[in-house]
Symmetry: C2
Subunit: 250 residues, 2 copies
DNA sequence: ACTAACTCTTTACGGCGTAAGGAGAATGCT
DNA sequence: AGCATTCTCCTTACGCCGTAAAGAGTTAGT
């Protein structure tokens, strides 16, 4: 995967220098392909995203997509940067904590709309236009608080990691539910009795105690689709706040 | 995917009731298949794990694996529970904070040894023997600190989410590096100049400032293979500690 | 009018998970 | 002992996948 080609595609700079094309006009655009691919992935998941499935609703053959995009991997890159454009602006935020809160919630919202996103958010930045803007926004929000650059990066990394983990857990739950046709609660209803047979109370006392408290069945208790995202987020922000305070004091 | 069948397989209870088998003896065991599959996944990644690739080193055809395991999905479940057995015991830990620290580091260590694990750690628990023991351990460590059950669950969820996110970021970096043949540093050397062309300093001031500080090139600065895992972990634990203190005070 | 450049097509290859059905081996019953 | 049953493991086959190769058809420059 050629980095130069990938970057050019992300910034849509590919066909800028060459205006007069010899052959027939292109009937599609990269944007249209990317948007179609996003719709397919939203509906069926990233695993079910195939070149053939993207080409069909566009009325072309799979191979014609290769005129616009070098391959599947690069298409996915473009999809990712496109949906990162849905992140909210942090400019109006009141203080760094609120900005980080919005950053994390924005990431979570994207993940909920597009469950295929979390596994793709890699540490190796692709730096398309939207990812660039997002980085600039969050680093801007962190600029005044007195952390060294190294720790600013680590803080963003921490937030991204947390959101990614939480989002993926929620996405998996939804995916499993859709595939098995069972909701989270129904699944526990089915396996609950089975578990109680295999898991003995005296071998696993702490787990049994929590299990019997019934908290596993409560929605939003820390597991399941909405898995205590806000609770965790506030703990993470508290941890960052303490670091900021310690820096200021010491 | 039948939950009962899956659970029976995880606890290896499948052939317990039926002792006298009519046909020829089985030449393989579920354990041997699972261990071989883990080796394949460790070497080539989960995407490259195919029934044919697992069968080959065992000297059987792909289809004979279906005598032992209902399908690929269930095999992966077994692989996951198997490697969760590598998690360290938390019994000797001195206090809940140290226990959680070990829990998180243990998870991270597993993820590093088996980079295919993080995407699989789902909120829908499979509850094989090792996952069960792990849950019991961490809930035991949290039992005395005064948090309600709901928040104990949320705390474990928070840690799992953080570890999962961080581990996946690290695994992706490694995977990308292996596939492209470029180390993290080499990749930045290649794309750096390109990025400076497309990303203008006045449109992205905060990002440019951090970029020019050179901190992106430092190893372990918050990105890259070792991406500030410890920094983030301490922030997360600080956040949990504050919650515990608030609970105790209020 | 001719040619070069370009888009889009059809075909093909080697991979995948696994359904179907058949060959051969070990047991239980008579 | 001999037969039926039951089980393991095999080969074959189907419909998916990404994309390489090569050809058909369209447009622009000369």
């Amino acid at each position: 995967m050629d980095p130069a080609r990938t970057l050019a595609l992300l910034w849509r700079a590919e066909h800028e220098p060459v205006r007069p094309a010899r052959g027939p006009r292109q009937g599609l655009t990269v944007d249209r392909i990317v948007r179609t691919a996003i719709a397919v992935a939203d509906a069926d998941g990233l695993a079910a995203l195939s070149m053939r499935k993207v080409a069909e609703p566009l009325g072309v053959s799979a191979m014609s997509l290769y005129t616009y995009v070098p391959g599947r991997a690069e298409l996915v890159n473009c999809m990712l940067d496109e949906v990162l454009g849905e992140a909210p602006s942090l400019e109006a935020a009141d203080g760094w904590r609120q900005a980080l809160e919005r950053y994390a919630r924005g990431g979570m919202a994207i993940a909920r709309r597009h469950p295929w996103v979390p596994p793709l958010v890699s540490s190796r930045m692709l730096m398309g236009p939207n990812e660039t803007a997002r980085w600039d926004g969050v680093l801007g929000a962190l600029s005044g608080v007195g952390l060294p650059e190294r720790e600013m990066l680590a803080v963003v990394h921490l937030l991204d990691g947390y959101v990614r983990g939480a989002a993926q857990q929620s996405a998996d739950a939804e995916h499993d539910a859709r595939r098995s046709g069972l909701s989270y609660d129904e699944w526990y209803e089915q396996t609950g009795p089975l578990l109680e047979k295999t898991i003995s109370a005296d071998r696993y006392p702490a787990l049994t105690r929590v299990w019997r408290s019934g908290v596993f069945e409560e929605p939003g208790a820390g597991l399941g689709p909405d898995g205590g995202f806000e609770f965790g987020l506030q703990r993470v922000l508290d941890g960052i706040e303490r670091r900021v305070a310690d820096r200021f004091a010491g």
